[in-house]
Assembly symmetry: C2
Homo-oligomer: 245 residues x 2
């Protein structure tokens, strides 16, 4: 029984998110089904984190203990042959028995894509959020500076569980424009549920003049009393990579 | 009544091609329906050519005579508001009454995309043809040189109509590789039905060692006796642009 690390890409459009759930189509569920057939027994796949329904990934990491004579490359090819074409296993490699995709993850990069041009491109239409106005990037960068660092992000998540810490560190937020697209890139040690999408929704409130950077600071500092912006829709979000030591 | 020129992008995946046909979903049909509502009467849209079922376009050109008080920009926005999200009108401009999108077209550029890497990318999976082996590009370039020029391409089309000329000029064929993708770019004065896809299928036969460049020459020179390669599937093909004077 060896431990394997997986690097996975998926178009989340038609999935109820990463996490296996009864009666739902999920990415974890699809992977576990195919690996279960390969190994001839129930198999658990541990993801680096959960992505919400409709969210995509270019670099999700996961691990699983498998009893098989296949080489890592054969496991990869087997998975890609039987998985649907909106999930691809880019890499399989043997890992230390102690490797745990969630506990050992030390950072994650997410990218959120908006389109701000006049005519919406058709080929990547499932991978961006089309905005009706061009937000002020300079104002958003001011607000992003305030979001950076260690904060209690309780106001930037859904279902905060009172017993668990909602303190997280976001050490990089980049906002770039290119050919009608507006990209928000976030790097941090970890993110709460919906946290990236709420940060994007909040930054866009600032960019469109409906919130000031100062108000963002207040939301961070008074998580019990102030409200963050709305949650940006899932299709613009993509988990780009997961860092390990 | 003014004549307008349209520049159109579409994902052809779910369409029975460009051309209006009874009981079929087509791009021309969708455009004519929306313009018909805008103008309050039946409207014909003339395309620069027909694309087959499943073929995409980034730069299809078309024209239509419209009776409307809208500006070209308002026509564009109206179309984009009511067209499905896999068709986008990138540009509308007023044209000379003599402009005819098909008769005045003097050249077209098509690109065919294959993927030759080991793991198929998911996000653009509807826009390439995945190959099982990496063809020999040098051999394909030799065969492409033979296809270039003025030839009777009767063997490179479906349904050649005997009364119509099947002579065409292909003045540019480029074959490039980039990050697992293999691109075939064709420029010519015009193309017969399925001609680009049959040229791609034939070049791949050469690249995979099942035909020699010399045999391609024979197919071109003896169109009555020799057979070209198979027709590459539609999803890899995209009409990139149409040239006018």
């Amino acid at each position: 029984m060896n431990n394997y690390k997986f690097l996975i890409e998926y178009d989340g459009s038609r999935y109820s998110g990463w996490q296996r759930q009864p009666e739902q189509t999920t990415i974890q569920g699809k992977l576990e089904n195919v690996l279960g057939v390969l190994c001839g027994k129930e198999t658990e796949v541990i993801g680096a984190g959960r992505t919400d329904a409709g969210v995509h990934a270019r670099g999700m990491a996961a691990n699983a203990f498998l009893e098989t004579d296949c080489t890592p490359e054969e496991i990869r090819d087997y998975l890609n042959r039987y998985l649907p074409d909106d999930i691809a296993v880019k890499e399989v490699r043997q890992a230390s028995p102690r490797f745990h995709a969630r506990y050992n993850a030390i950072g994650k990069t997410y990218r959120y894509t908006c389109y701000t041009g006049e005519v919406r491109p058709v080929f990547d239409r499932k991978y961006y959020w089309a905005l009706d106005e061009m937000p002020d990037v300079k104002l958003m960068l001011q607000a992003a500076e305030l979001l950076k660092g260690e904060h209690d992000f309780r106001n930037f998540c859904v279902n905060p569980r009172m017993k668990k810490s909602t303190v997280r560190v976001v050490d990089r937020i980049e906002i770039t424009c290119e050919g009608g697209y507006l990209y928000f890139t976030f790097h941090g040690t970890g993110f709460l549920q919906n946290m990236v999408r709420i940060m994007v929704g909040t930054l866009l409130e600032v960019g469109c003049g409906r919130m000031t950077p100062q108000q963002v600071k207040e939301v961070l500092e008074c998580p019990d009393r102030k409200k963050a912006g709305p949650t940006a829709p899932p299709q613009g979000l993509c988990l780009m990579s997961v860092d390990y030591d």
